[in-house]
């Protein structure tokens, strides 16, 4: 998928879930053996047009995620291309062991997408939020974990995942509209993080929706004379450990920012990569602290957990000054 200004803007407006559905709709003619599965979530996944246009490539298995994952694996075991999606908590945790056995252990390849992950559905309560998926999916062998920064990257991630050699979990965050990080085309490669901004003092490594405010935070920090690099870590597994090693040499502080629990996600992955390095800088892990405390409006939850651009900048500044 080639991104241009118009496409980036259009996708941004509809949000990452609709961008997912639209991408599969656009790609459908290229895949004879594609089966797109939902668990009574075609509308939520932006797949209604797909469902009506390509009924032979569409399958609804109802609100039964364990069965959905087993069926997806069974179809994949026959060599077909399978894309399954439902809301993130149900897509990852309700059928967690089916993921382990069918996708991890047997290596049947399924692209499975967690819709509305993070806290965007905060008004519905934490049953519908997902702050654990990266941690859990990352622990299962043979699963690649992607966390796109915006809607254009969602489209690129879906296409890359369909062509990837193993199962991919795509974590979709953010609402609609979802502010674009990219206005023009760029190369998206699974496992290769993207340096959006150079900096010699601090490296802010962000993923998903947190890339956009991190870029803003870097601008605010520049006003204070702090030179912050910003990295879009769109692949959580396999992590771009080479870049982490390089940043550990070239900067004095690493900061990870994610709309996910501070346990087990991007912050943990970066810390694991950094652990064996000699003289590596300290790391601040920003994300949802270990709680289900604050439900409600999306913006309020992000603010509660100090995940706005201003709060990220303030936290980085305070930490950097105290080094």
């Amino acid at each position: 998928m080639i991104l241009d200004k118009r496409k980036a803007k259009g996708l941004s407006r509809i949000g990452s879930r609709a961008a997912y559905g639209m991408t599969l709709f656009d790609l459908a003619p290229d895949y004879d053996d594609l089966i797109v599965i939902t668990a009574d979530t075609s509308t939520s996944a932006g797949l209604d047009r797909f469902r009506n246009t390509y009924p032979e490539k569409y399958l609804d298995v109802g609100i039964a995620e364990q069965n959905a994952m087993g069926i997806a694996a069974g179809i994949a075991s026959e060599g077909m291309t399978v894309a399954l999606s439902t809301f993130a908590p149900f897509q990852t945790m309700r059928c967690c062991e089916q993921i382990k056995v069918n996708l991890g252990y047997m290596k049947h390849k399924v692209v499975f997408t967690g819709l509305a992950s993070g806290v965007v559905l905060g008004t519905l309560g934490y049953t519908h939020c997902c702050i654990e998926d990266m941690a859990i999916m990352r622990a299962i062998p043979n699963i690649t974990v992607l966390s796109p920064a915006d809607c254009g990257e969602t489209a690129k991630a879906v296409e890359a995942a369909l062509n990837h050699h193993q199962s991919v979990y795509i974590r979709l965050t953010g609402g609609s509209p979802n502010p674009p990080v990219y206005a023009e085309d760029y190369d998206f490669e699974i496992g290769k993080a993207i340096r959006l901004r150079d900096g010699k003092d601090v490296a802010i490594i962000a993923t998903g929706t947190m890339v956009h405010p991190s870029l803003k935070a870097a601008e605010l920090l520049a006003e204070d004379g702090i030179d912050a690099a910003v990295i879009n870590m769109h692949t959580i597994k396999p992590l771009d450990t080479e870049l982490v090693a390089e940043l550990s040499k070239t900067t004095k502080l690493l900061v990870t920012v994610e709309e996910h629990s501070v346990i087990g996600g991007l912050g943990s992955a970066v810390a694991e990569a950094k652990a064996p390095l000699k003289n590596a800088p300290p790391q601040i892990i920003m994300g949802i602290t270990d709680s289900y405390d604050k439900a409600g409006d999306y913006a309020d939850i992000l603010e509660h957990y100090s995940l706005t651009a201003d709060q990220i900048a303030a936290k980085v500044k305070a930490s950097f000054i105290n080094l």
Binding site: I35, E56, L59, V61, G62, A64, Q66, N67, M69, G70, I71, A72, A73, G74, I75, A76, S77, E78, M80, E97, Q98, V101, N102, Y105, M106
Partner: protein, 281 residues
Amino acid sequence: MTNHSQNIEHITKMAAHMRRHILDMALEAGAHSSHFGGGLSVVDITATLFGAVMNIKPDEPEWDGRDRFILSKGHGCLGYYTALHEAGYISHDELMTFEKTDSFLYGHPVMNRAKGIEFSSGSLGMGMSLGTGVAIAAKRRDQDHRCFVIIGDGESNEGSNWEAAMAAPHHKLDNLVIILDRNRHQQTGSNAEIMDVGDAGAKFRAFGWHVEEINGHDVSALYETLSARRSDGKPLAVIANTIKGKGFSFSEDDNSWHHKILTKTQYEAAIEELASVETAA
């Protein structure tokens, strides 16, 4: 002799051979122990499938047109590996590596298509969904092979089975066959004591399946029931009433044989018992 009676004779002999191999494997496994009872209860079913019913080419294990098989109750693998051996997928030497270091024959099946092991299993309640997916893929591609899945009655405690039970008739999967090994026992007791699936046939029927209830050790009934292809959009559930530990008087219906070490004395008694059955046959 008719083709039918030849098949029955072949299945009967195959099952007897499999029981002999199971004794050898259980003895070889030694202190590793083995799921003896639940392996023996499926022997006549797997002998029927691999010996006569399933369309397979053991010298071409990944042949596209083959019927697919899933042992969802993975702990019944003694009844699976021995069928694969008799069918020609696994050598006798390989069979005797069961549960040993570096063997590909684990205590639960690990996918190995070259050796005829289609899927990994062991975590209960997953095979029906997997089989539903396999059957859907065949329907979508206009392929006419079938998918056979053996589940256990203890395994039927898992709710995921019933998600698949609802989905298969909905998607009109008359190419899917579930065989419930109804041996009425599970790990730590009888179904009645622990959690009984009750009238399993009625449950499947209520979900829209075609149900046949038969004696799971009557190979003639198994052969006739499993050979019949359906074209009415209904998946087939075969409730196979079996005896856990079937074949040896010391293990039949004795749940202590769920997972237990076979001693040399028991082995010798069993071999003798098997020989007398073979002579009688």
